[in-house]
């Protein structure tokens, strides 16, 4: 799992490249939370075009970050999720609380 973080105004763009499972979520969660706390972040975009694998651990990470920024009045967006990832997110009801976008620009425009 390679984590790449980008900041655009007060939005944190999180690129999750590779396999997101229980093992790799333990590695990235802290880095994501440190970035949210230290860089005055309000909104989050998960950019998933290079996500090769995800299981329910990914649901936990997304919902956990949603709860964190929701308290700050922020929102979360998901960009470029593949059909397999969408299926898991839909099962968990994630798209009832988080919007899905085709591009990062579109997501940024809605935040």
């Amino acid at each position: 799992m390679r984590l790449k973080l980008e900041v655009e105004n007060n939005t944190l763009i999180i690129h999750l490249d590779g396999e997101l499972d229980h093992h790799s979520t333990e590695e990235v969660r802290e880095d994501i939370d440190n970035a949210i706390d230290s860089r005055n972040i309000k909104n989050i975009i998960f950019e998933l075009s290079n996500m090769k694998f995800m299981d329910s651990s990914g649901v936990g990470v997304v919902i956990g970050r949603y709860k964190k920024v929701d308290k700050l009045g922020g929102v979360v967006g998901i960009v470029n999720s593949n059909p397999h990832v969408d299926k898991i997110f839909e099962m968990a009801g994630i798209y009832k609380i988080i919007n899905k976008y085709d591009t990062k620009e579109e997501a940024l425009g809605n935040m």
């Binding site: 229980h22 093992h23 397999h84 099962m91 968990a92």
Partner: protein, 146 residues
Amino acid sequence: MNFENYMKIEFLSKSQNESFARVAVASFVSQLDPTIEEMADIKTAVSEAVTNAIIHGYDKSNEKVVIECKIIGNTIMIIIEDFGNGIDDIELARQPLYTSKPELERSGMGFTVMETFMDEVFVESHKGIGTKIQMTKRIKVAENGE
């Protein structure tokens, strides 16, 4: 013998072995020529059961997880077993969004994912003895041309 092929692997309940377990099962299953989607379904279901053995089966110790796979015609049977805590109430555990570990950011979706991606999921568990998950999925035979 009621199966055409069989394999068994055993490893420590360390989170590093989650990806190993997925890859090992996937490469065994590849002899049935699954589609990319079927392969993703199987890898995800294996990941869920192995992760559960590691997180819920054993508390902090690293102990034994066993995976067995059988090929029966076009069906793959995967058995994932731990010898740890066991499940109190299996029916409750299988409910979508039920988790006993919300503080670890678990979402309670593991069993739901297994049930959605596999054809059948059986759970056998006894307090203090362990948990055994048996899942099967029939791989569709590719139609050539016509």
